[in-house]
Symmetry: C2
Subunit: 738 residues, 2 copies
């Protein structure tokens, strides 16, 4: 099949993104890194971050090799999988890690430079930090689309299948690449999340409480680990996470398009359905870059003005993307281009609403967080109760928004043919519309991730300023930059969660289509339904497969799957919460050992072994991350082997429902506790050091693993479980107990 | 149709239960209430409890009248509902309240008597408290079965419908009685839960912190409210809750039996399916009484021996019930009596496993709670993190257990005909087996609730001993009694949660059957399925209805329902958590006012206005409980009107999945925090007053609304939503947007 020339927009856009990222990176590198002390501290953090990556990659490499060997066996030994699968899986993991690596490298170079720029002015500081954040945003989307176009071209050339099955095979193989990205992202998020919170708690407990030295003091061996943690958790972890979300939404929609339109007979229609999400993403990249260049601010701008100028960039990009979508889908000539364009807008709009809601429930400019801060008057217990209460209530609007978006995206795609909304053709079109909405929501990622990644850079700049003994006015400026970052980070989390829900739905639909491939692979060409009628597997609809496998809400295996899925989210969160506790314990022991064994460390004459401390904590985090992450891979396979297709679908739906809501709850409760503390630090309710402040510090500490470890990992969990189910669909179809 | 003579076992068993309860009650009343001071305090608590009930009943009465008028309109105005529905609804609420009222009355009489008995010996104290607990257990099951038999006889006589539809109409009308019980229970649990925690926090904050007087000091106007709270939350609330669970499981299974076997043609078969759950419950009552009489202990028995003698009673009852089930189902002559008997045993066994798991995760004899206590060394934040982590992990075994129970109960009921497990007849039989398993799990309620209700009585006895200034050795004995109660309470919560999950599944199945009635009511006699075939509504199977309404996991309206259902659990918990905070605030203001306005209150010369304080707090609790409780009624109706049958089924499944898991998490985390504090109070990690103790007090305070307000309310929420959906099925079928 000929690749239409419009496709080349996809690799072109990705190369433009990478080029612009390179320009921003070079400019940032040319900035002055400040005093000797600032350079030294930045170098320690950089070294520590690399130490983390070394250890992380060792563990993840083993996991990837084992899984790749398994896939290689399936492909070359058993002959039941595409020979490209092991490679696609490996490169997905590799590029996901690479996006995190580049983001982290940029961040570790940018922190001292931001602090130094903040010595001159608030505005200079913002510029350096935001540009560095933009590097990360553009690298993620650039690498993402580059890999997608690369694999599309490779597989298009080397896939030796005729007819509509060709694109199905191509997109399915590409989903393995998505599974690689998800696996890497889960490890990065969970490992990084455990690491950053363990180092944080460990540094505080031994340094501040036992040795009595101030926070961020360079004599504390865990201080560097603490700063490294911000980089590995909030930068590398988030980079891999959003890389996975971005690719996941495009790949899931493409796979759904290929599979759903395969039975429709028209290969042109099918090809367009595969290309549409890539093109929307490509246009999104280009217009995000335009938005980034629009973020300009005059010398001495106020915080409100800064926030507004960031908003101008994001909103302008969104509006342009919305307009451009109509054009690109029209040019592509896809069936029902108008309806699908409105599906994209539904996704864009839902993302904005969720972002705003997140801000409302987590910013101390609004009542919910102010009430949490006020509850500190009666101690830490009421802070926790208020935060849990507010966080749980905050799930309502995002869930309803996603619900409305799902229905609207579906209906737009089928031209509001409500009466026949479940007929095979409409079902495929409608579900495809939901996938396209997810792509729409993430199309602004180039710029939203820039504002998002800017946060931890500003945070680290503050740490650098403190450790280097820069003046209080510099620290005040970095604090202001940090506060701005908190607000934008909230929006970013909203996008990640919302898009995960939509993407998971698209993956669920892809799973049903995968069953066809699984059946054909197992030599089944005809289905006999319970009413005695038969269907050719090649021509059967999604609903036929579901009827064949009794995927009904009355089937006890579906219901058991729903229960297990709902439980998985909680179990996963519980395991990661406890892991933070245990890893912090290892850190405490290591710091105590160094204080005991390295001479002159407290007088400043001996140098603490930062790297060793970082490595110990990293190893702890890596050990702790293995079990929960592997669980996410093993459970869908196990449920499939016992309960078959019906159980797996129950599992995915149950996991999606409770995982989505739990993720919103944890992210918002954590964010609100953080900002309630910040509000008191700004002087309300007694200010820093008061009993109220101490009460909110407890809330903040509890919120840390909520918002930075368990909560964001859930987004990846629900997608990874779906991708595992898809990749293993052939096995499930071949053997299951029920 | 003739009522078979075996039916009379049901009212007979209920009358035996009530008679035994009366005997225990009279014996308890003959015990000495102790010193003048003890009587006085008990009288205050009793008066406060009555003040609560007055206020509670005012609010609930209004809600019931509005709903009953609405049902009356549907029955007499629109003519679309059975004329008995409004009355059934009202009596369900009335008897549920009555069960709570009797339990509370007994508890308020028993507390001083238990304290007085504990002055003589530990054993005497246990006897008085346990017998009083047994009153509650027997009243709940006795009233429950009495009402069920009463309505069955009334409706059997006055229902003017011929053929298999008669039993369907009877059992559906009886489900309205279940909805009344659920509504009352939800108000009792939420209101009582908010009340008890608000009074607790309010009394502590003003009394201990501001006025500097010790806990349980009679000068504190909120002290009585605090003790009243234990009665209204843990006794009246739990009584109404378990009354609802008990009746709910029997009614749901009976309705499912009637509906599912209506199309099978045999009215005898149908009648037997309706009577079986009632008979199992009746046998359970009688054998529970035997178990209660077995709870004897020799003078001066150790704690371990006491616990063992309680265990002997429960286990003996369970074993006898298991055996008797085979006999009773054989005598009834129900189809597949052997398989169904094994379904009952599945339920019984699952209840025991869940109870044991709950004990493992909440008792400080085991590692999880010990670790939470140990984490107090690093402050309150790590206590919260450890508790949340452990609570989330604790969901795994109960969920898997219920999953196994669902599948086993289903398969036992269909004779392990796995290959045809989804054929219409097997589907009805299998789902009925799940309902029967829920009845089996709750069949031991007479005795398990006795051990459960014993807890708050022992707790109140301790309060009375403290306020009356009894010696430390008495307080030590009441503490020991209290600790025993904590362990048994954990088991009781496990039963309540597990049975809720199974009952909700039975209700879900009943809902599908309700659609038939709804369609017939709306004059629809034939369905045209998407494949063009038609079915007579009278003969259509459950799966036909689901196909007709597109209840498929690929239908976006189902998925939106799942999301909203999952969110409802969180929203409901968030609202009730926040309500506790706000109600505590009102209490604080009232206590401050009394200190200010009533002269000589702090010198002991003026008497605080206990009743006013109780009323203020009650009114606060009542105001706060309205919104979340009404939400549970309104949302299923709204989802039905917008998204139709498919949306409602998604809602129920989503709510069930996440509600069940969330309830287990909250109950276990709360219980573990409570016992971690108790462990430290017993002298570990520095003991009472240490920093570790303070840290666990924070955990305990956070856990209070988890385990006593939000968590247990979820059990009711998921069933109430199902019952509302069932009662409103006719409306949903008649008008919906999608």
């Amino acid at each position: 099949m000929n690749t239409p020339s419009i496709f080349w927009l996809v690799p072109a856009a990705s190369l433009v993104a990478l080029a612009v990222a390179w320009i921003f990176y070079s400019r940032m590198k040319r900035e002055d890194e400040g005093t000797e002390r600032m350079r030294e501290i930045a170098a320690h953090v950089r070294k520590g971050a690399m130490a983390y990556l070394r250890q992380q990659y060792k563990v993840v490499l083993v996991v990837f090799l084992v899984l790749a060997l398994f896939f290689a066996y399936l492909a070359y030994g058993a002959g039941v999988q595409n020979p490209w699968v092991p490679f696609a899986f490996l490169t997905g993991g590799f590029f996901s890690g690479l996006a995190g690596f580049f983001g982290m490298k940029t961040a570790t170079y940018a922190s001292a430079r931001t602090a130094n720029a903040a010595r001159q002015s608030l505005d200079r500081g913002l510029k350096v930090a935001f540009r560095s954040g933009a590097v990360m945003g553009l690298v993620v989307v650039g690498l993402g689309l580059l890999d997608i176009s690369f694999w599309y071209l490779i597989l298009d050339r080397f896939t030796d299948v005729a007819g509509p099955q060709k694109l199905v095979v191509i997109t399915t193989t590409m989903l393995t690449f998505g599974m690689g990205a998800s696996t890497q992202a889960l490890f990065a998020r969970v490992g990084g999340g455990i690491y950053t919170k363990a180092a944080d708690v460990g540094a505080d407990l031994v340094g501040k409480v036992e040795a009595g030295i101030p926070e961020d003091d360079p004599r504390n061996p865990a201080t560097i680990a603490d700063n490294v943690g911000d980089n590995v958790g909030d930068v590398a972890g988030m980079g891999a996470d959003l890389y996975e979300s971005y690719c996941g939404s495009v790949l899931a929609t493409a796979a759904l398009g290929a599979a759903a339109f395969a039975s429709a007979g028209s290969e042109t229609l099918q090809l367009k359905a595969v290309l549409a999400p890539m093109l929307i993403a490509a246009v999104g990249i280009l217009l995000s870059i335009v938005g980034i260049f629009l973020v300009r601010t005059k010398e001495g701008a106020s915080m409100r003005e800064l926030l507004r100028s960031l908003g101008v960039g994001v909103n302008f990009s969104s509006a342009l993307i919305a307009l451009a979508t109509f054009g690109i889908l029209y040019l592509l000539g896809i069936e029902n281009w108008l309806g699908l364009s409105f599906s994209v807008i539904t996704g864009l709009a839902a993302g904005i609403v969720i972002g705003q809601t997140t801000e409302y429930y987590t910013s101390h400019s609004y009542k919910p967080t102010q009430k949490i801060a006020g509850s500190a008057k009666t101690g830490p217990a009421t802070v926790i109760i208020a935060g849990v209460g507010s966080g749980m209530i905050s799930t309502a609007i995002p869930v309803v928004t996603i619900g409305v978006a799902i229905v609207l995206a579906y209906l737009c795609a089928i031209g509001f043919d409500i009466e026949h909304m479940m007929q095979p053709h409409n079902l495929s079109q409608g579900l495809y519309g939901i996938g396209i909405a997810a792509v729409g929501m993430l199309s602004t990622l180039g710029i939203t991730l820039a504002t998002d990644a800017y946060g931890p850079i500003a945070d680290n700049a503050g740490g650098n300023a403190e450790m280097s003994g820069l003046g209080p006015e510099v620290r005040k400026r970095t604090d202001a930059l940090d506060a701005l970052g908190n607000t934008t980070a909230a929006t970013g989390k909203g996008f990640a969660i919302g898009s995960a829900a939509l993407t998971a739905l698209a993956l669920l639909a892809s799973y049903v289509e995968e069953i066809r491939i699984g059946l054909l692979h197992n030599g089944v060409t005809e289905l006999t339904l319970s009413d005695g009628t038969t269907r050719l597997v090649e021509q059967a609809s999604m609903l036929d497969f579901m009827a064949y496998y009794n995927v009904s809400l009355m089937n006890p295996t579906v219901l058991v799957g729903v229960f297990i899925g709902a439980m998985m989210s909680f179990l996963f969160c519980g395991l990661t919460m406890n892991a933070v506790g245990r890893a912090a314990e290892s850190m405490v022991q290591e710091v105590r050992r160094q204080f005991r064994e390295i001479r002159g460390i407290l007088t400043g004459e001996g140098t603490p072994d930062y790297a060793r401390c970082v490595e110990i904590s990293t190893r702890g985090a890596q050990r702790e991350m293995l079990f929960p992450s592997l669980l996410a891979i093993v459970v869908p396979v196990a449920v499939g082997l016992v309960f078959g297709v019906a159980g797996v679908m129950g599992l995915l739906v149950g996991g999606l429902g409770s995982g989505f809501v739990l993720a919103v709850f944890m992210a918002n409760a954590g964010g609100a506790w953080d900002n309630a503390k910040k509000m008191i630090e700004e002087g309300h309710f007694g200010g820093k050091g008061s009993d109220c402040h101490k009460a909110t510090v407890v809330g903040d500490t509890v919120g840390d693993p909520f918002k930075d470890t368990s909560g964001p990992s859930l987004n990846i969990l629900i997608k990874l479980m779906s991708m595992v189910a898809i990749v293993m669909a052939g096995l499930t179809v071949a053997c299951h107990l029920f």
